[in-house]
Symmetry: D2
Subunit: 340 residues, 4 copies
């Protein structure tokens, strides 16, 4: 089977290609981009020598036609048109935000402009989602922060362990912002510094977290979300908490999470006493998770680490694509990180 | 006036010396330590060439006698005996935890062993504390995390803006752990990784935060605190939130903080729309603070950045010492950070 | 075929295991160590969830017996005894220094103590070495710095492009020092700082570089080597130069390197104008190399990047083991790096 | 006395302002810039709260008139016109390259365009330079790399310890490239990676190093210079070597350096056995230097650390300005670094 990657010169595109190079059933077809079209991939992704000489094409329907799966790593607003031109038989996996939100009003509030419609949400670990993805021809890959938060808290809300009043503070590596030439993303600004941004309920991933948790909880969940930028290239560490339901015990929390995650290939509940570090998941499609009950404060606290580019974007995309293509879900996806 | 520093070879001791070298009224007297006694200071603090040849002495009452102020940067459990030997006229400023907690039960629970008693708490920005410190001969310097959290939330609780149910997630640079030879503090482990530790209400700074906020609020405040380790040497970024009191508006929050901080020399409320980064405070005795109301989630959210070694330890210690010595509070304390 | 790893809890051991997990023909057998024997591997290598529950054994001949290949990632001085106990049929691949140097006097000068003898040198890219390794039962894996320098300059000396008077300055990530609890390796010391060490011809890798280059050049080569420590976990960037032979041109340099490296699977000569960055090789068994002629200064200058733990240690070890085991040289070795 | 800073929103301008805030005799006057004119300084230099509300003006002769000293931190090509408009009585200190090179051909080769003429070179540590600067009204501040190399090797060439065939490999923090929005300066690219650039005698600082060393040696010195980019914001570590003159001994090297540097306020020869780290000089106007003789390779090797923004740019500028203004050379310049 052949896979095309649109947006091949960016960070998400590069990660898709890195993983596809190790995928036994997906052959890399067209590589396209916008401003970098016409240049060699090696100029943008020098860590991928196997593809160094491949020339990037323009992102056109013609270039992307004839593939079994097309991965889109484009800026917001471009995927609907591309998908429409490709026809319904081609699997289209969108790493962008266009088709994640079901509520047009939330789209309007957080992104602006017209809502492009909703596609099946590419997080197989959510209840019932794995089956749904097997027949999907369109997949909306979750945002990197929502991936981390939903994996961390879905077991709690599915088991009724927490009140629907969530506080999330997450640290992300700079690749989450893409290869954007913004002053605050310069190495000189980032190194040696942790900074906050998008505070106060304004980050675009907030309604996506609420949508996912609400579906699991069966009752509206609200999320106070604060993202921070940390001096590292990759990784998200999300600290997620919510008021514990009355009478909750630590052992009940542990049991619920163990039960929920027992067969998940990519979500690892750490041994008791160990807490996640993003280095555990560097370059891997895994999440490292730990949960406890803060009896003093009466809160369930879950901390999760993922690689924002792997499980948080490109690995998650391929995981869902595997399901939709009838392949084993784990195919070609590393569970081994690169450390130290 | 002469100042002695006990624990001169550690990170807190080094920062005390760095600041004292620029202090116009405090002359550096004895430098003492435990295992590094007998060696030259330059072997431990090569960034302080002016003191490179000074030989470190043993931490004994004799060595510390005859100074106007003695700064203690010692492991927990040592300060009471040292202070007792120095007599009541000498100002003793303890950067350790021994005398911060008023509640012996909290001490017992979080530190273990016998409570050494309570000293005046060295955070002049707390209501009434500035006056109290002017006559103190013993000062307990706050922990680095509590410094950040109390500065961030005291204005909110003093003005009744928030419910007493606080969630704090903070990222700290590695110097907060001191010069400890632990595997998880190795550069290879730390770089490129953010990790959580002390989750679930077990970090020792938790009761100290609760103690301080409770005093300000006049009602028991509970804190869910999660510390994380970030790949940087210095700095704390603390994200602090609590449910907003009914009817609260963003402008009311802004006004309360502007009013509370108008005359504070070391706490800077950033312009609206700007959010703190630890780089703003690198090497400075300042806190950079921003606050907002998350109307969606109904929470007041304050984010603060400090340098854990400066305002969070050594600078805070000198600030309080200035007051107790009858000197201008700001003397010798930089408000200018080193960036980028 | 089964592979044992002695020293499984260290950084080199961890990297061996990471690569072996992806090797299609080598099954992971015994994992042994010294002080960490008895603990679970997951406590030391949390990035390897597939092996998290494996218990580390003691490094004894019994534990290591019965494998097709035994990888040794031990401190200096231990490999000879282990190898002797294993018998001559078992392939023993030593990542340590014990058997690299042919000259007992050089061993005595730089390491001290008795010379343990010389084993075939595990750098297949050296002239004639690939064939020699195919029949080896003992392999001495090169040091990480010598790997970089020999790959960078062997083509020049093989083609007679340079005078035998080499200057090397190399920056290494901290993992090159292993998981040693030394103050200068603490994150607080390393981050934000580049430092020099082992300056003036005293670093132990110096005679190894000279030995390798001398063999290629056919005349004694001397090397002035300065290692530096850079704030990153992995990677070596080595800048290597030597006086150009009279009449040398840039195109002649380019042609010689292109010719020498045309069929090398793991050494990549970058396109003209591109210069190496360690990020190009992160986690990969590749070297990224560029070379030019500094006409102004009359020197040939080659710059090379490798991952010190992969091509510089564990990947190089497996590459040579593949040859000795009759497997394809490239088997199980990634050429794709993890970036950004 | 009043000082103006042109280019106040960049990294060099920010460092000038940081230091001027602590200078007892220089009051900060006009702050000007190009594209950021009209905005508040706090938006660009949030670490300087004392100046946060100052509005940046346009860089015009009118804005810069009426100051005792004008510091120029402008892109190349702008300083001659600005200086001409200011008149000969105003001290103009140019942090740019326009007036460093004496040889118009070298300017043409490395920078292109017309040579703007030569100004007194602002490195007081060079033989005879201190006196010359006392009467200067125009000063060309050295480049950051040349500052490090000249300080490291001038004592050797002044004492005839080395042959004029220098090899320099230097690692720089990213602030050396300024606040330029280039992909290779993004945090995601820089962190975890060391990279080479400008290899092969093409970096613009090469002729400046040769010019300075040639003047000291009294014979043409050629320099092979390779700059590298390291994952840190600040700092240069330069490893500089040259063939030792016949018969040279380690003690002769030590004595020559001790003698040459005995009275230098800002260049510190480290104790024997200690080697420089950039962290020793973070934020300080000091250089940390060590030198040895590599007897094996027959080379004198000097390693030096400076802060590229302080001693390498803004601190060096103020040091020279102090001399030209008749102030004590050391006034307002920190010798204490910020570490860890």
């Amino acid at each position: 089977m052949r896979a095309a990657v649109a947006g091949a010169s960016g960070y998400a595109g590069g990660e898709l290609l890195r993983l596809l190079l190790g995928h036994p059933e997906l052959e890399i077809g067209a590589l396209t981009a916008a401003s970098s079209a016409g240049s060699a991939l090696g100029a943008h992704q020098p860590h991928l020598p196997a593809l160094a000489g491949r020339v990037i094409g323009d992102t056109t329907p013609e270039a992307l036609a004839g593939h079994d799966v097309v991965f889109l790593a484009l800026p917001h607003g471009h995927s609907a048109a591309v998908a429409a031109a490709l026809g319904g038989d081609t699997l289209v996996v969108d790493c962008g935000a266009d088709h994640r939100l079901a509520d047009p009003a939330a789209w309007q509030e957080f992104y602006g402009g017209e809502h492009a419609g909703t596609w099946p949400y590419g997080l197989p670990e959510l209840p019932g989602q794995r089956e749904l993805l097997k027949s999907a021809r369109r997949i909306a890959v979750p945002g990197c922060y929502p991936t981390s938060v939903l994996l961390a808290l879905a077991p709690a809300f599915a088991a009724g362990l927490a009140e629907p009043d969530v506080v999330v503070v997450a640290a992300s590596g700079t690749s989450g912002a893409g290869r954007s030439l913004k002053p605050n993303l310069l190495g000189s600004e980032v190194m040696g510094s942790v900074s906050a941004y998008g505070v106060g309920g304004v980050h675009r991933h907030t309604p996506e977290m609420e949508q996912g948790l609400t579906a699991v909880a069966g009752t509206p969940v609200r999320v106070s979300f604060t993202p921070t930028l940390a001096p590292m290239s990759r990784g998200i560490l999300a600290t997620c908490s919510a008021p514990a339901t009355p009478g909750l015990t630590r052992s009940a929390v542990r049991e619920a999470y163990e039960s929920a995650l027992a067969t998940e290939p990519f979500v690892r509940l750490l041994p008791e006493g160990a807490w996640p570090a993003t280095a555990m998941t560097y370059g891997a499609n895994t999440a490292a998770l730990q949960v406890t009950l803060d009896e003093r404060a009466g809160r369930l606290v879950a901390v999760i680490a993922i690689d924002n580019l792997t499980k948080g974007t490109a690995g998650g995309a391929i995981q869902s694509a595997n399901l939709a293509l009838g392949l084993p879900e784990e195919l070609g996806l590393p569970t081994t990180g690169v450390a130290p």
